[in-house]
């Protein structure tokens, strides 16, 4: 199979694709190729550049440089309609389906059979039925699409792409909301399409599905191509290594760690569960200790952070701060207990874009003080200037809107916001996500100095090197559960990776 494909020309090929956004290089000379009749998985953690690459190939975003070729012809799709005309069909249901129209109309939208300018509804329904028999889908095509399950909608989206003579199907997380039997139906159809010579790009965060269906894997990390592999040649542990960026031999120097056994417990979580996302997780953070939380996307690490900050409520289990059982119904409850959280999604949950750095820093302290005890703008400015100086935040003054800063500087502002409240426990969820290399090192240095000052930290991260570098202990999450807790000599990037990969 391998030889055969090497002789064959690629169906669809992207080479040297680069794309920069203000402050971040999203893609850096990335290559990707797709052969006819293969399922090619595109993998990487959040922020690796997968969605940027998909947007470029489907015409949503323009590339800064590089070349896109379809059947050896260079193409320049400038919108999705153009890409579809060329034969590149994106399959994410929210993009090209209209739930209030009939199934048949969705299948033939924009190219309805007409006579004298009127749509021939009967003809369209007949064509639709015929098309769907290929997919072994026996449904009433005149019903509106919203009547059917997400799985059926997903298949309709694929059918629509196929009916438009798609040569390339771009499947972005097609199985995210499907149950296992629906996934089987979908995979059967993908196998059939393979035999028809259609190339499929498959993005998912379910690794078992990658091994079930894909022929080839391309891994991206931080906007760079890590490699292209044949699925059969790439064991699971090496795949995770490629995704998380870990050279096994290169384990960073061990930090000085306090003896956790003697320490006093600050936070104790016992069998905490959150509906659909956290399953009986127990963990402890001692005073002055930095605990790491590792796991892939969707493993439940973010959800644990959210539950500890009162954003999601517990279904069962209990949380204790300083041996006292606490109930967290909203983030204000957590703040009252001295807990602070720098959230994973900085843009939606962290920064308040149009407000100034000054206001963004002062807000948490202001909430803690209560609305009637106003921190006057002058005091806010003094506070903000302190942090701008000590954290080396790149800005001309404290009045600049935070949305105009780079990702790294925004993260420093969010850190400053919480440190100003003098928290007892600081939770950091992916503190270095989407931050360019220079600022990355600065943030890590900052976290390290917080550890040295004796701040209790809980840090969720997919960057294992970081975790090993400053954590006293690391809790490993997989499938919403805690699967391991590593410390002392066992705490290496390799062992974390093995626990994540279940080998």
């Amino acid at each position: 199979m391998q030889d055969q494909q090497q002789e064959q020309h690629a169906l669809f090929e992207l080479s040297n694709i680069s794309k920069a956004f203000p402050g971040v290089k999203a893609l850096d000379t990335v290559d990707f190729r797709l052969f006819p009749g293969e399922v090619h998985a595109l993998l990487g953690e959040n922020g690796a550049g997968k969605s940027t690459l998909v947007k470029i190939m489907t015409g949503v975003l323009a590339k800064d440089s590089g070349c896109i070729q379809l059947q050896q012809q260079e193409i320049h799709p400038s919108n999705t309609a153009e890409a579809q005309q060329l034969g590149i069909a994106p399959v994410y249901q929210e993009v090209n389906l209209l739930p209030n129209l009939s199934v048949a109309h969705n299948l033939f939208l924009g190219r309805e059979p007409t006579r004298f300018g009127c749509i021939r509804w009967q003809q369209m329904a007949e064509d639709a039925r015929q098309l769907l028999t290929r997919f072994k889908l026996d449904i009433d095509v005149t019903e509106s699409l919203s009547q059917y399950s997400v799985a059926v909608q997903q298949l309709i989206a694929i059918a629509r792409g196929v009916a438009m003579n798609a040569k390339v199907l771009v499947l972005d997380e097609p199985t995210a909301s499907l149950d296992s039997s629906e996934v089987e139906i979908l995979f059967d159809i993908l196998r059939q399409l393979k035999s028809e010579g259609i190339g499929m790009l498959f993005i998912t965060h379910f690794l078992e599905q990658v091994y079930q269906i894909s022929d080839r894997i391309t891994v991206l990390r931080s906007g760079k191509l890590i490699g292209e592999y044949l699925t059969t040649d790439l064991p699971r542990s090496r795949l995770i290594e490629a995704m998380l960026g870990q050279e096994l031999q290169q384990v960073t120097a061990q930090p000085v760690r306090t003896d956790a056994a003697q320490a006093e417990a600050l936070l104790t979580v016992t069998e905490a569960s959150v509906a659909h996302s956290v399953d009986k997780v127990s963990l402890t953070v001692n005073k002055g200790e930095a605990v790491g939380m590792a796991g892939l996307l969707g493993s439940g690490r973010t959800e644990v952070c959210r539950a500890l900050f009162g954003i999601d409520t517990l279904k069962s289990g209990e949380i204790k701060m300083r041996e006292q059982v606490i109930t967290l119904n909203q983030s204000a409850d957590a703040m009252q207990q001295g807990i602070a959280l720098c959230p994973e999604d900085r843009k939606t949950d962290g920064i308040i874009g149009p407000l100034s750095i000054r206001e963004n820093i002062a807000l948490a302290l202001q909430v803690q003080a209560g609305w009637w005890r106003y921190i006057a703008p002058d005091q806010q400015r003094t506070l903000a200037n302190q942090y701008i100086e000590s954290f080396n935040i790149a800005t001309p003054n404290a009045e600049k809107p935070i949305e105009e800063l780079s990702g790294g500087n925004q993260q420093k502002v969010i850190l400053a916001r919480w440190l100003a409240t003098r928290p007892q426990l600081l939770i950091l969820d992916e503190p270095t996500r989407g931050i360019d290399i220079g600022a990355h090192a600065e943030i890590i240095k900052l976290i390290k100095s917080l550890c040295d000052e004796g701040m209790s930290l809980l840090v969720a991260s997919s960057e294992l090197e970081e975790l090993v570098a400053f954590a006293n202990r690391v809790v490993v999450m997989r499938d919403h559960r805690k699967v391991a807790e590593l410390q002392g000599a066992e705490l290496t990037a390799q062992s974390i990776m093995h626990s994540i990969a279940e080998v």
Partner: protein, 342 residues
């Protein structure tokens, strides 16, 4: 090189101006136009213990919209909108008129119940928006439509008139020669300014309006903030409705406050606020109110045919909005630059 730097700073000067520049320029322009038409336009004279003149008239007439605009500014800052304020004016007016006619309740009771009816309306709007998750435009549209119906029911379909010296004082009385309505606007403005800018409430409102999710992560109760904003508009609308009722000594449920919600929204927008929420300024919104009312008076006193009123108003408003638009000013400065080069 030097040349481009100069043109850059010229552009910057044109673009980066205080938020007050354009609304004030528009108001001054209108006043200058009026003075040119009629040199005595700005004259004020004192007669029978009361000031008279166009400026006093403009302020007095703009009082209801000014009150509505104060509340509307805060609601819009939270990312919402309140279409029901005109109807709430009708409800508060009807409640007070009926109390005055049918009962011998004290003036204080009548005022308190009138205000309470407005705050209750705000509570309903705010509850629908923040706790039921209904879109603000729909939630308040409900009360915009039904509110006037409720007021008509209270009045039994009639115009309810009353004779009550104390209550009428709200509409036609004067204090130190200046109409009570103007004093009321000043009082509500000062109190809301004090509450929003001398405590952290204004900051919380802006935070919720800019990013409700991040505000929740900060421990701000975004629902309560929104609820309070709608209660404030309810309060302001009730007061405006009572002033209007006192002015005509009666409650006309069909016509009082009709379309005033649109004037209030327009005033906020003229003040430069974004309908998407976030930064707000009540003084700027009040400038917007003055622009609208001066425009109304201008059209009235200039003797233009009344059928042209709405058209002239629309054109003037579009001009002011264009002046406020960064994009438009950029294009103009770009055109000017090209013209100078050629």
């Amino acid at each position: 090189m030097i040349n481009t730097e100069i043109s850059h700073s010229f552009k910057e000067r044109l673009l980066i101006t205080s938020r007050y520049t354009w609304p004030i320029a528009a108001l001054v322009l209108l006043l200058v136009f009026n003075v040119l038409m009629d040199a005595s336009f700005l004259n004020i004279h004192f007669d029978h213990g009361r000031f008279y003149g166009n400026p006093i008239d403009i302020l007095h007439r703009s009082a209801p919209v000014a009150l509505l605009a104060i509340g509307m500014t805060v609601v819009i800052a939270t990312g919402g909108i309140d279409l029901s304020v005109g109807a709430v004016m009708a409800i508060a007016g009807a409640v007070c008129a009926n109390l005055l006619v049918a009962t011998d309740a004290s003036l204080f009771t009548v005022l308190a119940i009138g205000i309470a009816s407005g705050v209750l309306c705000g509570l309903i709007n705010g509850g629908l928006v923040s706790y039921m998750g209904i879109q603000p435009i729909i939630a308040t549209l409900l009360l915009m439509v039904t509110g006037r119906g409720i007021a008509q029911l209270l009045n039994d379909g009639q115009i309810v008139t009353f004779q009550h010296a104390g209550f009428s004082f709200l509409g036609s009385g004067t204090l130190l020669g200046i109409p009570v309505s103007i004093w009321l606007v000043l009082a509500v403005f000062s109190i809301s300014q004090l509450l929003l800018r001398r405590t952290a409430l204004g900051l919380f409102v802006e935070a919720v309006g800019c990013n409700a999710s991040a505000s929740r992560y900060l421990g701000i109760n975004d629902r309560t903030v929104k609820l309070m904003a709608y209660m404030l508009t309810g309060f302001c609308a009730a007061l405006a409705g009572m002033i209007s009722a006192a002015d005509i000594q009666g409650s006309d449920a069909n016509n009082v406050g009709l379309w005033l919600e649109l004037d209030a929204i327009l005033a906020v927008v003229l003040g430069g606020a974004a309908l998407s929420g976030g930064r707000f300024s009540i003084p700027l919104s009040l400038l917007g109110v003055l622009i609208i009312q001066t425009l109304n008076t201008t059209i009235m006193v200039s003797g233009m045919p009344s059928k042209l009123n709405l058209l002239i108003k629309a054109i003037a408003v579009v001009l002011v909005l264009l002046l406020q638009s960064d994009t438009f000013r950029k294009q103009i400065s770009g055109l000017a630059g090209r013209w100078r080069h050629s």
